[in-house]
Amino acid sequence: MKAKDIMEQVKDHLSPDDTIRDAVNKMRVVKRDDGIVGVKGMIVLDREGNLVGMVSVKDILKAIIPFYMTMTELGEFTWEGMLSEMTKKVADKKVEEIMVKDVITVPEDAPLMECADFIVKHNLQRVPVVDREKRVVGIIYVRDLYNAIVKVLLNDKEVENI
């Protein structure tokens, strides 16, 4: 199996000019393949439809957490309500400022091992799949790889037996 065999369709995307508030609102209403509502990450496309970045809940959290906390071990010295206080401060920041710009992608005919290697090495939850022209054609989530593993390890009968 290759990347294109397990990838999921792109449901929605963000634009670099969206604010964090817009992004949060878009992400919570997207319907996924498995019927669940809400995603934890989205690709960012510019007007021409080129992939310019990715935003995940973690990137939003990163924007919310003051950087001085990230660079030190000051985690214990926070107060209740600090998270919402800081969230409000960054609500109007642009997606462009917080997105991950160097997006790691895989070609559509990449072997699954390549996808798994990138996902683990760069600690990703999702990796966009691109065609030869570098246009995004789908996204592979960690759970898709997981399903591939499950298929190898168990046949579905076994699963139902439990």
Partner: protein, 158 residues
């Protein structure tokens, strides 16, 4: 709000002796909050004590050969390699692949502390401990996300 206000209850756990095959199975059928099935991470208990945590990433890490992780050889793989390597590790024990140094928070931790730990250590979930160091729940990144949504809606409400 504190960790204990947003955490979700633990429904199922693994033991260090569980094989990967079984772990994958258990994670696939585990029930989550609102009636969905399947989780991407589970805590490992040994004698009732927190011994580690296993996520899909840990399982993938066990499957991907060590030399691939050390280098930039990602392009030099072949179709079917993942499946081949997966079969090789099916019998490995959870104890061998789990993350041992589990990062946890206390139930009274402010949400900011949870967020800080998750971002700093790149985590998706954080076991919550009570005063006696027993696991009482789990904070997921989606719970923090809910808190953010809440904060943003508040502002809109004003």
């Amino acid at each position: 709000m504190k960790a204990k206000d947003v955490m979700e209850p633990i429904t199922e756990t693994l033991s260090p002796e569980t094989t990967l095959k079984e772990a994958v199975n258990r994670m696939k059928v585990a029930r989550r909050g609102e009636g969905w099935t399947g989780v991407k991470g589970m805590i490992v208990l040994d004698d009732g004590k927190l011994a580690g945590i296993v996520s899909i990433k840990d399982i993938l890490r066990a499957i991907i050969p060590s030399y691939m992780r050390l280098t930039e050889l990602g392009e030099f793989t072949w179709d079917g390699m993942l499946e081949e390597m997966t079969k090789k590790v099916a019998g490995k024990k959870v104890g061998e692949v789990m993350t041992r140094d589990v990062i946890t928070v206390s139930e009274d931790a402010p949400l900011m502390e949870c967020a800080d730990l998750m971002v700093k250590h790149s985590l998706q979930r954080l076991p919550v401990l009570d005063k006696d160091k027993r696991v009482v729940g789990m904070v997921y990144i989606r719970d923090l996300y809910q808190a953010i949504v809440q904060a943003l809606l508040d502002k809109e409400g004003e």
